[in-house]
């Protein structure tokens, strides 16, 4: 009998400071992963929480974590070489095949960029797999921008729009809420376009409404949900919405499904 609740220790390889409160933790990991999946990450004695996998390769995975509570406060104290405990991966993640051959727009707000980073990176590296690729990103302030260096590289490869909510000093880029900038996207042939939208609940709500208003089809919009999860395996009940368990059938949902998931 397998005990699914026992986490295993993994070695922390590297820590990158993205912002004052968001660090990316690189962990030694071998195993198959899908972008958008999550791990139950823990420090015994402190706590356990679901954290999305922001990127991965053959020997490691990245988790971009915001310092917002008891567990993450402690995780931010860790040093390379320290052990971190994980079980997973859980959830469906983004099925890349779903997006192949499409006109793909990835829209992410704040920490919502983490679960789609692998998806973006994959299609940046394999642009031949999609018809076209556009990226629209929004953060609160320039200081909140995640993966800043990488975003610059993406911008060399495909149309990439980066906005911050409020005007700021030393910021020459776009300002205003992300929903305001949908018009920058190539909206030709809109009924054929596919969008991935990930961000805080309020951003996803208004962004999907905006895309629909512009003419996107419901079945061409994908979102990823964030919920409290104590187990990741459909037992603890926290992430259930109607008959759907976000940890099992999600966190990535097509909008046709997502629009009917009322908390």
């Amino acid at each position: 009998m397998i005990n699914p609740y026992l986490p295993r220790p993994y070695t922390l390889l590297n820590i990158t400071k993205e912002t004052e409160i968001d660090y990316t933790f690189k962990v030694a990991y071998k195993g198959s992963l899908i972008g958008g999946q999550f791990m139950e990450l823990s420090l015994p004695g402190v706590g356990e929480a679901p954290i999305s996998i922001s990127d991965f390769d053959e020997t490691s995975l990245d988790m971009t974590i915001r310092k917002v509570g008891r567990l993450t406060d402690q995780i931010f104290e860790l040093k390379p070489g320290d052990k971190i405990y994980m079980r997973g991966p859980y959830g469906n993640g983004f099925d890349l095949d779903q997006f192949k051959g499409k006109d793909l727009t990835v829209i992410a707000g704040g920490t919502g960029l983490a679960p789609v980073k692998n998806l973006i990176r994959h299609f940046i590296m394999h642009q031949e797999e999609v018809q076209s690729l556009e990226i629209l990103l929004g953060f609160k302030t320039p200081q909140d921008i995640l993966f800043g260096e990488e975003i610059k590289k993406w911008a060399d490869q495909c149309p990439t729009y980066l906005t911050v909510d409020q005007r700021a000093e030393y910021w020459n880029g776009l300002t205003g809420l992300i929903t305001k900038h949908v018009s920058l996207l190539n909206l030709e042939n809109i009924k054929e376009k596919t969008a991935v939208v990930v961000g805080p609940p309020i951003m996803m709500k208004f962004m999907t409404l905006e895309l629909l208003k512009q003419g996107f089809l419901e079945e061409n919009i994908w979102v990823s949900f964030e919920r409290k999860m104590s187990c990741g395996i459909g037992k603890c009940g926290h992430c259930k919405i109607d008959e759907t368990y976000v940890c099992l059938e999600g966190p990535v949902f097509n909008y046709i499904k997502a629009k009917n998931l009322l908390d």
């Binding site: 005990n3 356990e48 919920r227 908390d263």
Partner: protein, 340 residues
């Protein structure tokens, strides 16, 4: 088949079973009632027949016997994790048909949902045998007949108590002991309650639409419900839990991870680090629970979750009746479901 026993003989049989099993049944728990010096009927370990309460419904469900309120999953010392050892003997549970059906609902959640078996639930559940208490009268708030949970064949033994006479039947080899077989045989077939005072009509699952989610029926519960979660803790089918880590107060490297019962009516159930949460109004919590019990569990698993034991009605300090809620909901839906 079946046996007729006196209480003395039954006590002897229980003593005999106690060599292998811990036996749990509804018992009077003195001083555990809602007010000082009052008692409550809950599940406890028994050694003799007279301890078993047959004429009252247990205030709490039997789930705490095999799904502890707080359960240690593993201990840790520095980098070493050690799975918590199983701390129970095989268990015999005296239980009514509604609760047996309720335990089947828990089995579905812990052993089937998501395709992974819950290790900690299973290792206790495997040690469980049911002695069904024949229940033909029910109690004031029961609505098991409406839920179809008044009957079951998922028991290992069955007991009928009539005046001074006890009838007992089993075909389980662990329960068929010499202390039972030395009693006179008397054939009996278990009977089940055929009608409750309370009846509910469950709205057709497919007719429950978004309009119903937004219906003003739930605002009444925002005003009445105080989010105490008693309906969750007393429910035989509520299974939610939260992880809880603790450290030794004098050694930071020593501690344990537990899971503790959680309830969707209690504030904080959906809280995420960073401040997001859902269903802040108590009426929304009531709607969420109601839909799980009589709508979305059915859509997922093909049976309703609620077994109509009525404990949520018995324990609610605000006198909210779940059966009335179901019937009100059904009325609204049969009238078209919108606020107009």
């Amino acid at each position: 088949m079946g046996y007729r026993l006196t209480t003395t003989r039954f006590d002897k049989y229980l003593t005999n079973l106690s060599e292998t099993f811990d036996i749990y049944a509804p018992v009077v728990q003195k001083g555990k009632g809602m007010y000082s010096d009052t008692e409550v009927v809950g599940y406890g370990k028994i050694t003799c027949f007279d301890e078993i309460v047959f004429d009252k419904k247990s205030y709490y469900s039997p789930k705490e016997v095999f799904y502890p309120i707080r359960e240690t999953l593993f201990y840790f010392l520095n980098d070493e994790l050690k799975e918590a050892p199983l701390d129970i003997r095989p268990i015999i549970l005296f239980v009514r048909p509604c609760d047996i059906n309720g335990i089947m609902r828990l089995d579905t959640m812990f052993l089937e949902n998501g395709g992974i078996k819950d290790y900690y639930y299973l290792r206790r559940r495997q040690l469980l045998k049911f002695i069904m208490i024949e229940c033909t009268e029910g109690f004031d708030t029961c609505f098991c007949v409406s839920m179809g949970t008044n009957k079951t064949d998922q028991y290992d033994g069955v007991i009928r108590v009539q005046d001074e006479k006890i009838l007992f039947d089993t075909d389980d080899e662990k329960l068929l002991t010499s202390a039972l077989e030395e009693n006179p045989k008397e054939v009996f077939t278990p009977r089940f309650i055929e009608e409750n005072k309370v009846k509910v009509t469950i709205p057709e699952p497919d007719l429950v639409t978004k309009d119903v989610f937004e219906h003003e029926i739930w605002t009444e519960y925002t005003q009445r419900c105080i989010a105490c979660g008693r309906c969750n803790t007393s429910c035989i089918t509520c299974s939610c839990f939260t992880m809880q880590d603790v450290k030794s107060s004098d050694n930071d490297h020593l501690g344990e991870r537990r899971r503790v019962w959680a309830g969707c009516h209690v504030d904080g159930f959906t809280d995420m680090a960073g401040g997001h949460s859902f269903r802040s109004k108590n009426g929304e919590k009531m709607r969420f629970k109601t839909m799980h019990k009589i709508n979305d569990y059915y859509k997922r698993f093909g049976t309703h979750m609620c077994v109509g034991c009525g404990r949520c009605d018995d324990v609610c300090p605000e006198y909210i009746s779940f059966s009335k809620c179901i019937n009100k909901l059904n009325d609204i839906i049969s009238e078209g479901g919108s606020n107009d």
